[in-house]
């Protein structure tokens, strides 16, 4: 990297030196355009965050694009139901790289208060990779601003030679689930999500080991 002392000396002379990677990431993080995609109650807080008081536009999210072809970020705001899940994955597939997903609210993270439901998808991360999760029901608009800042920090830390879209073997399109007779098929995408370990499994193992 560049020597910091040299950098500050040059800055005093009016010459600014940055790396291409810094410039590339700065351009990307300062102009994240979200997709206009509100599902339920969290969508109202998302609109409030974009309104005059909390003003999402000063973070670069100036316009919410209506079409996924022009959007960088999908804020999944609200409960994803099984009837809607194929459309969510299809929209994500239609977004061009680089693309990010923010799961806003308890429902998008894990099903939320409606977890015990026959039509509720228990978390959008079962089918698509999520970059930032925001807990809350609904999260305050300030929480959404914090999530955008976290995403910006994540983008700053991405290295230009390790990007998913420059890698010929990485997946950018994810399989779309099908609504079948009783449930979605498949119930989850195994490459993206694994069920978490039940603590009672571990205690059973431990207690058998001890005895």
């Amino acid at each position: 990297m560049i020597d910091e002392g040299l950098k500050s000396e040059l800055q005093k002379q009016g010459v600014f030196v940055v790396s291409t990677e810094w410039l590339y990431n700065w351009g990307r993080k300062s102009s994240i355009w979200p997709l206009q995609f509100g599902l339920a109650c969290c969508a109202i807080e998302m609109i409030a965050a974009a309104a005059a008081r909390y003003d999402l536009a000063r973070f670069g999210a100036e316009v919410f694009r209506a079409t996924p072809r022009q959007a960088d970020l999908m804020i999944v705001a609200g409960t994803v139901t099984k009837k809607m899940a194929p459309q969510v994955v299809r929209l994500f597939n239609q977004m061009p790289e680089p693309k990010y997903v923010i799961a806003m609210g308890a429902c998008a993270i894990s099903g939320g208060p409606f977890k015990d439901g026959y039509n509720v998808l228990k978390g959008v991360d079962r089918y698509i990779p999520v970059d930032v999760h925001i807990p809350g029901c609904p999260p305050r608009p300030e929480a959404l601003l914090h999530a955008i800042i976290t995403l910006q920090e994540k983008i700053t830390g991405q290295h230009i030679d390790q990007m998913r879209w420059y890698d010929a073997t990485a997946t950018t399109e994810f399989p779309i689930p099908v609504c079948s007779e009783h449930d979605l098929l498949p119930a989850a995408n195994p490459e993206v999500w694994q069920p978490p370990k039940d603590y009672r499994d571990v205690t059973n193992e431990e207690s058998t080991k001890k005895s």
């Binding site: 509100g38 009837k83 459309q87 208060p113 015990d116 305050r140």
Partner: protein, 380 residues
């Protein structure tokens, strides 16, 4: 899926075809995940079928597993713009079934919350309707500016901006002290000025008049037959406001008018909401002046182990979107046996096809906006 001929012979050498388009569930103007399958002849709508269920979160089944009070936070998430009105509808239905009497101060507090909720709902609804007309953001941002003041008040009172969970059976959860009442009075004092500004921008605006008048006319007989309620029905000439008919709460003692429209087009549905906001300000001024001292919750209602005698019953309120009712069946236990919500937005969609056929597809978007649906209520 929609029964319509696929080709129509035009007079002349050209044969045209009808085009079946699915608008939604992700679309910038569809107020949530709502899908319309339209059959188009050029730009003109020939048939329209709404497809709902993309937000069906089986609230009714969840309520059968939870206690009576445990469903109260879920009622917030029905019509997520007005959590206070939804809470009131559920509390009213339970109080009707169990025969609980609510103290007077609690009734006054309930009216304050419901009318403030109505103000911010109508302002947002007009903002979204004008956004659909093409006024990209300006009326919406004006409406959201007032809405933020009301949400600040809700947060001070109940702890949450939107999902307030404020009502209990027999009263409300937190009493209003003088500081909170002063906050409410300030909001009510500033609201007429905002309404004047809003109206100056829009009521005689050339574009609004051209786009909204004579579009989506709903005849009065169809409104009654289709069980349409709320501002949509009143704009078509149906003189029915549950606050005046059932006189629940203290509405029987308050003086306010009920605006009724003449034509029933989109412009009437917009203007009736403006007039209803003015009436709500009148109600709030009376209530904030006359609020009595007293308890805020009926003391004999148990919070733990609350049970209702065996039987069923139906309670309803005039929500900002229409008649919101709850049908509850009790088997005498701590949980409901059946919990059903009568959602105004769902039933108001019955006549969407009748209103849209013959208009252009851009008009269909505005007509949907003027019905003011919210998908949390449609799909539950």
């Amino acid at each position: 899926m929609i029964a319509a001929p696929s080709t129509i012979p035009a007079g002349g050498a050209i044969t045209t075809q009808l085009l079946e388009v699915s608008i939604g569930p992700q679309h910038p103007s569809t107020h949530g995940v709502f899908r319309m399958d339209v059959v188009l002849d050029g730009e003109v709508v020939r048939a329209l079928k709404p497809v709902v269920g993309y937000l069906h979160r089986n609230h009714e089944q969840l309520a059968e597993k939870m206690s009576w009070l445990g469903s109260m936070p879920y009622t917030d998430r029905l019509d997520y713009f007005n959590s206070m009105s939804n809470n009131w509808a559920y509390a009213l239905a339970v109080e009707k079934l169990a025969g609980i009497k609510v103290p007077e101060r609690a009734e006054y507090i309930r009216v304050i919350m419901a009318e403030l909720s109505r103000l911010q709902n109508h302002a947002s609804a007009i903002g979204f309707l004008l956004q659909d007309c093409g006024a990209w953001g300006t009326p919406l941002l004006y409406a959201f500016k007032e809405r933020e003041k009301i949400l600040d008040f809700f947060e001070t009172v109940s702890g949450s901006r939107m999902m307030c969970n404020y009502f209990r059976f027999g009263g409300v959860r937190v009493d209003l002290n003088d500081e909170m009442l002063a906050m409410a009075r300030k909001i009510v004092a500033e609201f007429p000025k905002f309404l004047d500004e809003f109206e100056k921008l829009m009521t005689t605006n050339e574009v609004v008049l051209a786009r909204c008048q004579r579009v989506g006319i709903l005849p009065k007989e169809l409104a009654i037959a289709g069980s349409i309620s709320g501002p949509v029905a009143r704009a078509s000439g149906v003189e029915y406001d549950i606050r005046k008919v059932d006189k629940y709460g203290v509405y029987g003692q308050l003086e306010f008018g009920v605006p009724v429209g003449a034509v029933g087009d989109v412009y009437d549905r917009y203007y009736i909401r403006v007039l209803e906001m003015r009436e709500s300000v009148k109600i709030l001024q009376q209530v904030l002046r006359d609020i009595p001292a007293g308890p805020m919750q009926a003391v004999e209602v148990k919070l733990r182990g609350f049970k209702i005698p065996v039987g069923d019953g139906y309670g309803r309120v005039e929500g900002p979107k229409g008649e919101l009712g709850f049908y509850l069946v009790s088997e005498g236990g701590p949980k409901p046996y059946r919990y059903h919500i009568r959602p105004p937005s769902f039933i108001n969609l019955t006549v969407l096809e009748d209103m849209c056929v013959g208009h252009k597809v851009a008009d269909a978007i505005i007509i949907l906006g003027s019905i003011d649906i919210v998908l949390g209520e449609v799909d539950r």
